[in-house]
Symmetry: C2
Subunit: 344 residues, 2 copies
Amino acid sequence: MPKAPRIAVTDVTLRDGMHAIRHQFSVDDVRAIAAALDDVGVSHIEVSHGDGLGGSTIQYGFAKENEDDLIRAAREVVRRARLTALLLPGIGIIEDMKRVQKLGVETIRIATHCTEADISEQHMREAKKLGLEVVGFLMMAHMLAPEDLAHQARLMASYGADVVYVVDSAGAMLPEDAYARVKALREALPDTVEVGFHAHHNLGLSIANSFAAVDAGATRIDASLKGLGAGAGNTPLEVFAAAAAKRGLETGLDLYKAMDAAEDVLRPRVPRLVEIDRASLTLGYAGVYSSFLLHAYRAAEQFGVDARDILVELGKKKVVGGQEDMILDVALALKKQKEAAAAR
Amino acid sequence: MPKAPRIAVTDVTLRDGMHAIRHQFSVDDVRAIAAALDDVGVSHIEVSHGDGLGGSTIQYGFAKENEDDLIRAAREVVRRARLTALLLPGIGIIEDMKRVQKLGVETIRIATHCTEADISEQHMREAKKLGLEVVGFLMMAHMLAPEDLAHQARLMASYGADVVYVVDSAGAMLPEDAYARVKALREALPDTVEVGFHAHHNLGLSIANSFAAVDAGATRIDASLKGLGAGAGNTPLEVFAAAAAKRGLETGLDLYKAMDAAEDVLRPRVPRLVEIDRASLTLGYAGVYSSFLLHAYRAAEQFGVDARDILVELGKKKVVGGQEDMILDVALALKKQKEAAAAR
């Protein structure tokens, strides 16, 4: 058993959870959920479109309400936790950050693909000047070897990040993968910079991966009520609270309040829960972006191959967002393989 | 990474899964699900009432169909896997075992509370004489220290068990708990006796605990489609197949077929999926029997205390089935504590 550290839990129900309900939380939903979370004892409550500030667009999906109204609703009720927003440079801009700080946001999380920390430089430096707590968010972190990920994290730290997260966007990591990456960051970063871990549950390992991250030195863990989040969802907050208490980890979470928030506050407000279904399991297994899913299904039909084989192949090739044209190449190659096999 | 062992997976969808649908699978359901599972490549398919042979009673819940008809339906379609039945001495009897063997059952799993291996002696010796494969099933295994559990397992081995399972009935184990118990059994048993692990998902750790069990020497793992099972359910077969493949474990499972069986065969046949809700999470956290739940809620109402506090206290006292009268004592003590605290 590791020695009991103090783990700060950032709740993402009102940000990553937005993906699971197509960004349709209302101002009333946000007020009720944020108030309950604040009472549970999470250290940070993130409120944003699933794709961050400025994400409410035809490309990423229109939110039900204006993002400023959602942030104001949370600000009215949050007393203990730090109000947090996510920003993906390119979707959100520096002006968004300034605007939400005036509404009461205290922590900004700046997310980039794991190989592109350098595009966060301007935003981080500006956020530091504004006096915000700055958190770097290295997405799809399973795609980079630990030492390369640590290099990207060092860049973020050099821009002023107070915390850098290893983000398992595709839910593709095993506990040993989470451990190795967090450990590499912990060893590469100065003691003044914390390491965080954001899990997805595609392989059913969100709790175990979060434990592995803590064992490797992470002091920030993301979670959400009922695991509400993109794909198979995130680490379920109430389950993490229970399992962490059993493990002797200090999280500051009130277990019964977390259970009640999940069941009495969140559950009635969502039409369905997240689950590990064929699509999300395939994404975790292949380790690819969820945005590839629909393209892969289309290509599979066109070429008469299994969409899962396409996704697994894309994972092997480490294809990233913007390379969607690769999907047709992969489908065609698989079709040829299949024909060659049939001819033998 | 551990060296790749060969893991045989026993499917319990048609036995533990029965609990989740109040034992209402039809002959047609069993035929369809067993055929799909056989094609997935599981080594054993267990078909029984949730509480084992003879469990269809007013006390344990009446099954939709006669157990012989369900076993016959499975026998018609299962080609590769060993057809398996569960028996709890006291609920099922030796005659049940003989009868189902004639219907084609090849493996019998004999389950006792973890401290009571000795009540399996007659059944195991008789099963061995009949030429059945014999599996011992030590339930609520989190309640015993590893070395004491190993002692019980040695008893089962001495009666002729070919395999002994560590059964986390309440889903109360952390990975380190599963590891320690499987390891103790592996070291205590002769090499000719395999060790198995049966997880429940109450703390969201079924996959991770199964991995820990494999690392400690388990070569038999239980799973079910979509995790269908009592409480928060079992290790989801299709998710285990994917995560195990990523980990380099040889399971003999066809991942795509497992996904398809879960989604196309099982899913349409159940009204709702299992989930980690307040009740099942509390059971896992407290480490108590699900049969205590209703009693605890009643006592909580009567004495004006939180049912969860009752369950946690019962867990600490290691109360077992048959000691339900303890629930009132615990509730009364909690009420007095509460009054004393209020008076201070």
